[in-house]
Symmetry: C2
């Protein structure tokens, strides 16, 4: 058995779609087919989450550990309420172009948390200055949370709509959309955020020309200065309508740009990762490699040995992962046979207390 | 052979240090020991790079793909030279508190690229406004590159010094320092950047009180406003000495805070990843799992089968990785034996053109 049997094992681990890409002995495949079902059911969640190979995705299998999109939204609302109340209370200690007490508090809170900091409203007392310091740090953390958690969730939803729209004319099932999405996840995320970013720039520029009566260059300059959180402050929102718009627009556009840059970085990482995978795959397996992978000195390397050796070369797994798993394997392998059987599991678990 | 032989294979993949943690039949181990040498030589680079499980680290095996620290430094210098020259040329179109033509150009360039944007100097013509827009976007990308590439390299060097200092009294070899570093890499990175961050805040505050003659609260407020890139602009660097200091201090401190926040996020991800690994490791192996991992239906699961199954549960590897490697394995396995031997390698490579 064994060495020869490892091959079908790995073959069966393949999802049905990728299985079709392989030239597999049809007889063997038919025989194995039914066995892959329980595994396939177990896997989709994980396949989906780790397609770009990045670490944070792997957490979805333990979603209780990961603060959800809803949590981030709640934090944001809480932050804005507390911020608005605080700045409302110290309003007399803030100098600048004031328009409306409540509106200015929220506007100042947004301008501070996004680190735009125009300077059209500035704290003018010890208390208000320290308050601004506290709010800018917590705001940065919150924006970071929004970029890493909240927006990702929203963009993922848009992605599916985008792909459905792109495939409108072709009849595609949800599994095909799923596959398309896995293959180009980051690519689509980039597209969605870029489209949103362009829309926000256009809307912001038009608004500033129409409502704040800036000329086109000034409006674009103010948009760029705001979106990047530069905020020189020579051009800012000085009308009531402008500040209402600013509250929503500044938050959305700064987060959108940050997210867009993150996705570009991710795309770049993914493309480098793909190059590395290609490099490892196309690298000639020399006799030295074979010797290194083949520890039992029988001159042959099984499929599982090969997969583990190459995964290490790709840097996807490391020594520590294998050590940990092997320790667990040895613990479970009570009869020291080098393999796990139902009797091993029973023996190992009889040592533990029942559930 | 085979199934039973996989176990020593994986055991030998263990680095010597972790090997000592395992209870291994001494005879077997002595026999295997010498065989692990070539592999161990091949691996250290990769083990080191991927210890936090994050993707970007895996690229070091192909360092030519990855822009190095030196590249980032060159980009930064080029950016500053081009920026200073551009803003020097449009200096008459910039209004505000001017002190020195050359100094102001560099200062304005730094204030713009870091998105601090005090507003003490603001572009006042179409050309200078569009120039500022171009420089703030490219500056953001450059800061992002510095945070993801440049600083990481510097912090890693500091880490080693820190650990050496901490272990001064204990006699530790470089291999032990290496291990200590692998286990708590992100933890030490956080410590190093936090120490630098605190130092930068203290230095900045002292400088502003001494040179710019601000009172303590104003100085701290200006430091916070600058470090977070808020830059209201009511307090900024208005003396010649202040602007010289600002050029170095603003760049260092904003990048340091950004890096510090990144490391905290990484620490958080790592701790969640560790929880996931622990969860997968301590999760009872049920008969259903055993059945899922054991595809050959012989009722036993080999060590390699177990490792691959658990790695998938941890989300470290996915279906696609295995599919790709398996396709490569089948390509190399010319004689369809389900194992790779020297003869397979020879046959597979004779189909390709020689080197």
């Amino acid at each position: 058995m064994a060495s020869d049997d490892e091959k079908p094992l790995l073959r069966d681990l393949l999802s049905p779609s990728s299985q079709n890409d392989q030239k597999i002995d049809p007889k063997r495949r038919r025989y194995r087919r039914c066995r892959s079902a329980p595994l396939a059911e177990f896997l989709p969640g994980e396949i989906g989450t780790n397609v770009d190979g990045s670490l944070p995705n792997s957490e979805s299998s333990l979603s209780n550990i990961n603060p959800s999109f809803r949590m981030v939204a709640i934090y944001l609302i809480l932050y804005l309420i507390i911020g608005a109340v605080c700045f409302y209370l110290v309003q007399d200690q803030i100098k600048g172009d004031k328009i409306d007490r409540v509106l200015d508090s929220v506007y100042f809170c947004i301008v501070t948390m996004t680190t735009v900091g125009y300077g059209d409203l500035v704290p003018n007392s010890v208390a208000s200055k320290l308050l601004a310091c506290a709010f800018v740090f917590s705001g940065m953390v919150l924006i970071g949370l929004m970029v890493s958690k909240g927006v990702d969730y929203l963009v993922e939803k848009q992605e599916i709509l985008l792909i459905k729209a792109l495939h409108m004319n072709r009849k595609t099932g949800s599994s095909e959309i799923q596959k398309e999405l896995e293959d180009n996840k980051v690519h689509y995320k980039c597209l969605v955020t870029m489209a949103l970013f362009v829309a926000l720039v256009v809307v912001g520029t038009l608004f500033l020309t129409q409502v704040e009566k800036l000329d086109l260059v000034d409006a674009f300059y103010c948009v760029c200065s705001t979106i990047t959180t530069l905020g020189y402050g020579d051009k800012s929102f000085s009308t009531k309508a402008g500040r209402v718009f600013a509250i929503f627009w500044i938050l959305t556009s700064t987060v959108c740009l940050a997210q867009f840059l993150c996705y570009i970085a991710e795309l770049n990482t993914e493309s480098r990762q793909k190059k590395l995978v290609k490099f490892v795959l196309t690298k000639r397996m020399t006799n030295v490699d074979l010797e290194a992978a083949d520890v039992d000195e029988n001159g042959i390397v099984g499929a599982a040995e090969f997969v583990i050796y190459k995964l290490k070369e790709m840097g996807k797994i490391n020594q520590e992962d294998i050590s940990l798993l092997l320790a667990e394997f040895e613990y479970l392998d009570v009869d020291q046979s080098g393999t796990l059987s139902t009797s091993d599991i029973g023996l190992a678990q009889s040592c533990q207390t029942g559930p």
